[in-house]
């Protein structure tokens, strides 16, 4: 377990995955902020376009399906509108439309579990990275699954239309604050579930299942937009809690009164699994899936407690253990994840469900870690400060002086060098942070200049811009730039010799 706390950083892991030489960041999929921003911008742009195209096609198909159903209504009343799409599919040559029509084919023909299945036909090569394509695939799959699910639901088509329209409308609200976005989504959930109850007369269980699927569909599409948005200080809070947890590395299981005995193999196994699950939360997109990670983490904790104490875990046991797990795991983007779940999860799950209970405990654990002081660990504030500043460190369960004197000397030396290393690590951390700040300032500055140039260009259009209309002026501009490039080269040469007149 202890190696988790150690400092193992491979220099190459720190650098931006694009190889631009800047430092990358796990929160930005290993890219530096500049590359990430570019990637993300392109991704957003593409998503808007895709959504737009999808919306248009679905609209068209829906109308056609509706018309065809009316035509067939007399002769073949049993035919579902979906079959019509299957027919049309063979006629349509555009593969993009194929993808969309396949969304509506009965699942017996397109097994939704086969990843490659309905998406192979996508002929347009994705211009962005595989990560971008992956999230686009995720979104397509979410749509496919949502439609498959709704086929069996009364008014499924109606529900899909509403969700799609709402999700698209969110794309135009990107400048809204996070709380307003959350209000919008929560209002939508509320209205939809009210309608499912009152208008469609769904049972509570059915409504709950539909709402789960609605959340999955919508949040998969909106994830990149609304997770840790730039309008909030979520990212700042992430860094703060991450640093706080790192500073608390010296806190032991005894100080927190955690009732688990890691000497027992099954218990230490549960602890490792709990840590893995809580770290995994960050990799999920749908709030319900993130909650699932917290719940799995909690169940492992319960198991650890039950095996250690030989009784069922109560809240008195659970909370301190969860705090301990969070301290050990230092989960990535902890605050962003908590905020995202709070803002966009189905409220019923959060407020009364079992998942909600574990989530609330996680919120408690974070609040406790933020406010933690000497008193909450049963020590004097002086002692607490010594540990926090790294001037002292608890020696763990066995005091160093217990063995021979030479052994204890070696141990204390090891402690000293560890402290030095920690200090170095912290300094490096600060340097990197400053560098990042500088970097993002530079990016902002470039953006600003770019914007200014753009607006200048717009208000004073260049003649060469209009030249694209005629081939003649195009060659002229090419020639012009050729001359320019010659000039550039000339600058590298020594100045031409000037004829000099000598009197005499």
């Amino acid at each position: 377990m202890s190696q988790r706390r150690g400092i193992h950083v491979d220099q190459s892991e720190l650098l931006c995955k694009k190889g631009c030489g800047f430092y990358g960041n796990g929160a930005w999929q290993g890219l530096c902020s500049k590359c990430w921003r570019e990637e993300n911008q392109r991704e957003k742009q593409r998503q808007i376009q895709e959504d737009q195209a999808l919306a248009e096609r679905l609209q068209r198909e829906e109308e056609e399906a509706y018309a065809s159903r009316h035509q067939r209504a007399q002769s073949q009343p049993a035919v579902t509108p979906f079959n019509k799409f299957e027919e049309r599919k063979t006629k349509e040559k555009s593969s993009r439309v194929n993808t969309v029509t396949k969304f509506f084919t009965p699942s017996t023909k397109t097994p939704p579990k086969k990843d490659a299945g309905p998406f192979d036909t996508q002929s347009t090569p994705s211009p962005s990275s595989s990560a971008g394509r992956q999230s686009s695939l995720d979104r397509d799959r979410a749509t496919q699954e949502f439609i498959d699910f709704l086929k069996a639901v009364k008014s499924g088509r109606e529900i899909f239309k509403q969700c799609r329209a709402f999700t698209e409308s969110m794309a135009y609200k990107r400048d809204m604050g996070a709380d307003e976005l959350s209000e919008c989504v929560q209002d939508f959930y509320q209205n939809l579930s009210d309608r499912l109850h009152n208008q469609f007369k769904g049972s509570s269980e059915l409504v709950e299942r539909v709402m789960d699927e609605v959340e999955k569909y919508m949040m998969t599409r909106l994830y990149t937009e609304v997770f840790c948005p730039e309008t909030t200080d979520d990212e700042k809070k992430d860094l703060a809690i991450q640093k706080r947890i790192r500073d608390l590395h010296w806190v032991t299981i005894e100080m927190l009164c955690v009732p688990v005995d890691e000497e027992i193999p099954e218990v230490s196994d549960s602890v490792v699994k709990a840590i893995t699950d809580i770290i995994e939360m960050d990799s999920k997109q749908v709030p319900k899936d993130k909650l699932g990670c917290i719940t799995r983490c909690s169940k492992h904790i319960f198991n650890g407690i039950r095996v250690s104490k030989k009784e069922a875990a109560s809240a008195d046991d659970f909370l301190p253990t969860l705090i301990y797990i969070v301290l050990k795991a230092n989960p990535p983007r902890l605050q962003s994840n908590i905020q995202y779940i709070t803002r966009f999860c189905n409220p019923s799950r959060l407020m009364t469900g079992e998942d909600g209970y574990y989530f609330t405990n996680l919120c408690c654990a974070v609040a406790f870690i933020e406010k933690l002081d000497g008193q909450s660990l049963n020590m004097s504030s002086e002692e607490f400060e010594l540990y926090m500043s790294g001037q002292a460190s608890p020696n763990g369960p066995q005091p160093a002086a217990s063995s021979s004197s030479s052994g204890s000397a070696a141990l204390s030396q090891a402690h000293n060098s560890l402290d030095v290393l920690t200090g170095l690590d912290e300094r490096q951390e600060r340097v990197i942070e400053k560098a990042r700040q500088l970097e993002s300032d530079l990016i902002d500055w470039t953006d600003e200049v770019e914007q200014k140039v753009q607006s200048a260009l717009e208000s004073f259009p260049l003649e060469t811009q209009q030249s694209t209309t005629s081939a003649a002026s195009e060659t002229a501009s090419a020639a012009l730039s050729a001359i320019d490039s010659e000039n550039v080269e000339n600058e590298l040469l020594p100045p031409p010799l000037q004829p000099q007149v000598f009197a005499g």
Partner: protein, 218 residues
Amino acid sequence: MATAGAAGSRTYSFKVVLLGEGCVGKTSLVLRYCENKFNDKHITTLQASFLTKKLNITGKRVNLAIWDTAGQERFHALGPIYYRDSNGAILVYDITDEDSFQKVKNWVKELRKMLGNEICLCIVGNKIDLDKDRNVSVEEAESYSESVGAKHYHTSAKLNKGIEELFLDLCKRMMETAQAEERAKGNGASQSASSRRGVQIVDDEPQATPAGGCCSSG
């Protein structure tokens, strides 16, 4: 959060928090109620911190979620995170422990301040099987409860006394509150954002003047 439909066919979902000092018997009460167990060393339950119970009260379905809270003093400040959005709170003290009753009084003040009158409060004197060691008088506890708009119950998790009544009564009260809320907001209208989130901050304590004698030590 209570979700009750206009048609009356919907299931009520209630969240109830258990509050009180450590060792007063919170966990014992809920384990007795949900699994009819007391000090059972043969563990078949994985955990006793979140338990649910399905009830049918006068033809209406109720899903009760009971949230145990960490009772240690160092976690006291986390209370508001736990009881946010709850429909009911069960405040437990040990009748042999005067101090645990004082803690209940603190919780009442805090809950009323944070959640107003929307939350149904139950004050529970547990361990009545130990009546010979009683340190909190019945009269004091009951009159205090009345003065703060809470209902008082006497229970023993050990002997399984008074527990069914406690939870059944609480559910009925929460249903009344939910129905009143529904009527107030009108049929079919969707809840406002603030009531959906369920948190209401009240500046002044809407507290009745305590009846004589109940505040002798506080």
